[in-house]
Every structure is written in C-alpha cells, then in structure tokens.
C-alpha cells in the first residue's frame, strides 16, 4: 500500500466533498426552510460558472469573476423567487418539481442562445494553475483553494445560522414554519432572503467548480443528483448534516474509484475486476444512501424533530 497515494486520495475526497457541500448547503436550506423542491438549483450553479468564465476571460481576474458570478446568481435567484416560485409554496412537491424542471430547460436553452453550445474554459491565474509540494507529494494549488473557500463558507454559514437573528429565523422556519408566521415574522421576506442565499451559494459553487470541471450546458444536472444524495443523508434542512454528508460522500466516491479495482483483483481475474470495479464504484454512494434511509430515514442530523 502506497501511503502517500492514500493520503492524496483522501485529500481529493475532501476536496470533492467541499465542492458538493457548497452546492448542497443552498439546496438544503431552501428545501428545509421553505419546503421547496428546487431542481433549478443546478441551473443557478451553471449560470454562476458561465458568468465567472466570461468575466475571467475578459478581465483575467479570478476575484472579479467570483464576485460577478455570486451577484448574478443572487439576482437571478431573487427574480425567479419573486416571479415564479412564490406562487408554488402552497402547492405540492410534484408541482414544484414540474415548474423547476421547466426552469432547467429554460436556463439550458438561454445559456445556449447567449453562449452557444460549445461551453467555455475558465482561465486561472498562473500561480493557481499548477501544483505545490505538501506532505511529500504535489497537489494542485487550486484544489487547496477550493478546500479553503469551502471551509470559510462553512464557518460563515455556521456563525450566521447559530449566532444571528436571521439564522434563528432560518432555524425556526426549518422546524415550524406556521408558528414563525404566527409570531409575526415577515415570511415572504424571509423566504426571498433564504432563496437568495441559496442561489448565491449555488453561484459560488459554480465559480469554484468551473476551473476544474469545464463550463458546459447541463453541468448542473450531473452534480445536482449528488447534492440531493448529500442532503438526504445529512438530513434535510441541516447545514452541518450537509457538511458531514458531503465529505463522507466525497471520500467514499474518491476512494472507491481509486482502490476498488486493486481490491477486486485480489479475488477476481484482472479482466473481470477492471469491468466490475468502475460499475461498483459509481454505486457506492447510492448504497450508502439506501442504508441511511433504511436505518435512519430522517438523515444523520435532522433539522426537524
């Protein structure tokens, strides 16, 4: 066993988990507080990535790209909340799924009209676009940056949710919405704020993913499924649940992809192992989700009790 490789893969798993957390945090807050099933969360992530790549190509500045993407996602998020989603709160999840699925189609086509079908590559400053040596192996600088930004965001969210008035309202909204409304809190405004926060987080996730994963139409749908798995495992509405679940999923997925074929070769012929390992590796997280749903259907850290 190569210990540095194992350690490097753990770091890769952590980094993938952080990226998933950025996306899942917004999703879980919106779902938990507003009881809104928002499939278009991935579209906001995609818009964040496209805006960031465009700004980065035009100006060469990563920070400017990041700011522009978050603001764009926030504004578009608030627009769709006020114009469309507001009228869906009283309806069932199925109507919400249908409407937000429609939004996915709309935004995919919008991006196609504005940016064309070929997608973009987001340039990075040279010092980000290489690797540094840490703990005896080299690791991409940018991925370390992703881990850093993710941890800062997690800390920020934790502080906001547990130590501010708005955070208190979010927690109250997640556990009993009707009572919060009855106590005279402006639920309409709270919902717009929460949805805007979720959208901004999706935009941030889009920026952070863009320089690694390429910017393309439909990039949101691919990762959205994983984000849903994260919030189901973590417990809907719980930010700390999303954080833990995202990292668990990131690590399991990465380790499965890296070591499962070697593991299978211990008891299977090489040919069969090479075919079976990738298939099983891509199932691991769903097996985990099924197990969590079976033994603890409310998730690891449920917000509602």
């Amino acid at each position: 066993m190569d210990w540095t490789l194992l350690f490097e893969q753990l770091l890769n798993g952590l980094q993938l988990g952080i990226l998933l957390f950025l996306l899942a945090a917004g999703l879980t807050v919106v779902f938990g507080v507003m009881d809104l099933m928002n499939l278009a969360h991935g579209s906001l992530y995609m818009i964040g990535a496209f805006v960031a790549a465009t700004v980065a190509i035009a100006t060469g500045s990563f920070l400017l790209a990041m700011g522009a993407a978050i603001v764009a996602a926030l504004i578009i998020g608030i627009i769709i909340e006020v114009t469309l989603l507001r009228s869906l709160y009283g309806r069932g999840h199925l109507d919400q799924v249908l409407a937000t699925f429609g939004l996915i189609l709309f935004f995919n086509e919008l991006v196609r009209v504005v940016w064309g079908p070929e997608g973009l590559e987001m340039p990075l400053p040279a010092f980000f676009d290489t690797a540094v040596t840490i703990f005896g192996f080299s690791y991409p600088v940018y991925r370390l940056g992703v881990i850093g930004v993710g941890l800062v965001t997690a800390a920020f969210l934790f502080l906001v949710v547990s130590h501010t008035r708005i955070g208190m309202l979010i927690r109250a909204g997640a556990s009993d919405r009707t009572m919060v409304g009855a106590l005279g809190v402006d639920i309409k405004l709270l919902f717009t704020l929460v949805f805007g926060l979720g959208a901004a987080l999706a935009g941030l996730a889009g920026v952070m993913a863009a320089p690694i994963l390429s910017v393309a139409i439909g990039m949101g749908e691919e990762i959205l499924i994983l984000a849903f798995v994260v919030i189901v495992i973590g417990g809907i509405g719980s930010i700390q649940g999303a954080f833990v679940a995202a990292i668990v999923i990131g690590v399991i997925d990465t380790l499965g992809r890296s070591f499962l074929d070697d593991l299978f070769k211990l008891f299977l012929p090489a040919n069969a192992a090479e075919t079976a390992a990738p298939a099983v590796a891509s199932m691991l997280i769903y097996i985990l989700m099924a197990a969590v749903l079976f033994f603890r259907p409310q998730g690891l850290f449920p917000a509602r009790t």
Binding site: D2, T4, L5, E8, Q9, N12, Q15, L16, I57, N108, R112, G116, P117, E118, G119, L120, E121, M122, P123, L124, F128, D129, T130, A131, F137, S138, Y139, P140, V141, Y142, R143, P211, I212, L213, S214, A216, I217, G218, M219, E222, T254, R257, S258, D261, E274, T275, A277, P278, A279, A281, S282
Partner: protein, 402 residues
C-alpha cells in the same frame, strides 16, 4: 349486348386505373428522399451535434438540395446523449416520418440501442461516427454502412506510434462505455510496452479526474493515453495541468483534441496542448479535392475548422447521393442502392476508399499534431501516415458475403 357493355365498362375502369398508376409513378419519381439524422443537439455534447448538422447542411448546399433529381430532405433528431431517447427518436423517424435512410449517431451505446429499429424497418443505416465493434462483427448487416471507422482502429494506430516513439509504459484513462472499452482494446492490440495502469471512468457523469490523475502520477508512466470526446477533454487537460504533470508525462489522445475542443482551449490559453499528438483517419489539411472544397466551404460558412465528426457526416450525405444517382433516383430499388453503396463511388473527403465485407471503410490512418495555423488558430496537422489501407479487427466475425 349486355355482356359487351359490361366488358366495355371493365376495360374503361382498367384504363382509368392504369392512367392513375402512371400518374402515381410519375409523382413518385418527383418525390423527396427523406434522410433521418440522429445526433446530440442538447447537453454539453450538443457542440458535436452542431458540427455534424452544419456539415450535413453544407453537403446539401453543395448538392443543391437535390439527389438524382429528387428533393433531399434531412430530418434532424436529438438523442439527448441517452440510448433510450436515441431509440425513441429513431423509431419515430422510421414509423412516422418513413425515412429512406437513417444516418448520424455519435455514441456507440446510442447506436447499439437504435440499430435494430432501423434494420427492422428496411431503411438503410449510414453511420457517421459510432464505430461499435459489434456492428463491425457479429451484428453486421446488409443495410448498415459506415463512413467513419471502427472504434479500435484509431487507438491501434496510436499504439503503433507509441512503439515507434519508444514509450515503454503507458497509463490508460477512458470512460466506461461501449466506445471507451473499444478504444482501450484498440491501443492494447498494438502497444507492445507495459500498461502501467488503467482506469475506466463513469460516463458521462464523471468530470472530476483527481483520483485517476493522482494514480497516474504515482505510477510514473512514459505516457498517458486518453479518450474523452466532447467537453470531458477540456476538464481532463485542465486537471492534468493543475496537477503539475504538463510537460512531465507526455499525453497521447484519440478523439479528444480536435476542432471541437481546440477553439475553447485556445480561448482559455491552455497552450499545454500545442504540439501534442493524436491519430485519426482524416485531418482538415488532408489534401484531396473533396476535402479542400469541404474545409474551405465549412470555414467560409461557419467561421471555424470542421471536426472529423463533420467530415464523416459530409461523407454520409455524399455516399447516399452517389447511390441514388446510380439507381437514377429509384428509391424502391433497394438492391440497386445497396450495390451502389458498396462501391463507395464518390469523392470522399479522405480520398477514395473501398468497403470491407462488413461495410466498414478500408482506409489510411494518420498521425496528427496540434499546431498554430497562419491565422493564429490552433488546429491539427498531419505528420505521418501510420496505417495504409487498414482493415478493422472484427470483420472476420461478420458472416456477410458479397
């Protein structure tokens, strides 16, 4: 008297029917030839479909939208990059639109799901990209023709290049689906060195290759072989560079660094790809009369280089046209059309080629290198011929004889 009247009426009726038949045959002659074209027009892979669609439109322009006097109509269908949707769309083309030819197909898994639907309908299937090994072998069919290649061939050419360049150990990364498996088999057929490691990634969902790239670095190979069509190319190349491996481990690719990905890579100034090698059956700079016309026409109309996907699609339309000209537009003459298709008697962009017994081209394969053209655009240029008149490795499994 009565009998005579009846006879007269019968003959009059027959005459009317005969006249009508003549009229119908005549309108039949002036009808249209319908071609269904299945490709991916949405999702991140839609950029490939756009290239193919543009090439087909250009071919129709070059033909004046006529084939042997018939109006040529192409109906595009979007498979959404999914086998089940591809099959549904194919079904609709053959049953509702009643097309005479079905063409296109980027993805081997979509092709394998749709193949039987076309064959059962009696329409001809002219494959413009997907070179699934099954269709070249056991599943070959008298009405299926290909204007591209069999998946194994291009990586086989690359394997030979690797031997010639003295690569002793190779790490392979490719997606885990029908074509990805063929590509890996292909390179392993000819590469004589050691395979230092192999990773098959989830397709098309996986775009983060951190785990695989970490394994590549740990294995310290002489080269990395990748096959990532469409947007995955950019993602892999970026992550490879971010891992600090650019210039340390040479990268060899098939169907990844092409006119689809290069403009995007150039825009992001990812110059690590300049000078890298790949193999293919065609290149924008291939010097044949048809290719000069195709490439200059494409660049003039769309302002960019065509990809091999475009070249194959252009050839598909020209092949269909050649067969219809040979039977003078008689769409009912299936045997005549098939005989003509088998001759491949048309100006292909790759130059003249013959069909093997499984209806796959016997053709050359070239080594290409990424260079900057005189206008400053990144493009592929032919460096050497790797295989001459190469046959795919599956044709002996095909039982068809002609």
């Amino acid at each position: 008297m009565k009998i005579r009247a009846i006879l007269w009426m019968i003959s009059a009726a027959l005459a009317v029917v005969g006249l009508l038949a003549v009229v119908f045959v005549a309108t039949d002659k002036a009808e249209t030839v319908k071609i269904g074209f299945v490709t991916t027009l949405t999702t991140g892979a839609g950029v490939i479909g756009r290239d193919m669609q543009n090439a087909v439109d250009l071919a129709l322009d070059h033909l004046g939208h006529k084939m042997a006097g018939l109006d040529a109509e192409v109906i595009y269908a979007d498979d959404q990059f999914k086998p089940q949707i591809g099959k549904q769309k194919t079904q609709r083309l053959v049953t509702r639109d009643k097309v005479d030819f079905v063409s296109g197909y980027i993805w081997s898994h979509v092709l394998l799901a749709s193949r039987k639907t076309v064959v059962d309908s009696g329409a001809f299937l002219i494959i413009s990209n997907a070179g699934a090994s099954q269709v070249a072998g056991k599943l070959c069919h008298k009405n299926i023709f290909t204007t591209s290649w069999q998946n194994d061939q291009v990586p086989m050419a690359l394997g030979k290049v690797l031997n010639d360049r003295g690569v002793k150990s190779l790490y392979i990364v490719a997606p885990n689906y029908a074509a990805g498996k063929n590509m890996v088999t292909g390179v392993e057929r000819t590469f004589r060195g050691k395979v230092a490691g192999k990773d098959m990634t989830k397709w098309p969902g996986q775009i983060d290759f951190a785990a695989e790239i970490a394994k590549v670095r740990a294995a310290k190979p002489d080269g990395v072989f990748i096959f990532f069509p469409g947007k995955h190319t950019g993602a892999f190349l970026r992550q490879f560079k971010q891992a600090g491996l650019n210039g340390k481990i040479p990268l060899y690719s098939v169907f990844s660094v092409d006119s689809i990905s290069l403009p995007k890579l150039q825009k992001a100034k990812m110059d690590g790809v300049l000078g890298s090698f790949n193999t293919n059956f065609w290149s924008p700079d291939l010097d044949t009369p048809a290719n000069r016309r195709f490439v200059s026409g494409f660049r003039k109309k769309y302002g960019r280089y065509p990809s091999h996907y475009a070249a194959q699609s252009y050839d598909s339309i020209m092949l269909i046209n050649s067969a219809l000209v040979a039977v003078k537009g008689k769409l009912k003459d299936k045997d005549g059309i098939r005989r003509a298709l088998r001759k491949a008697d048309f100006q292909s962009v790759r130059g003249p080629y013959r069909y093997n017994q499984n209806h796959f081209p016997i053709q050359n394969f070239y080594l290409r290198q990424v260079v900057t053209d005189k206008d400053g655009n990144w493009t592929n240029r032919i460096v050497a011929t790797v295989f001459k008149d190469h046959k795919d490795p599956y044709y002996k499994l095909c039982r068809m004889r002609w």
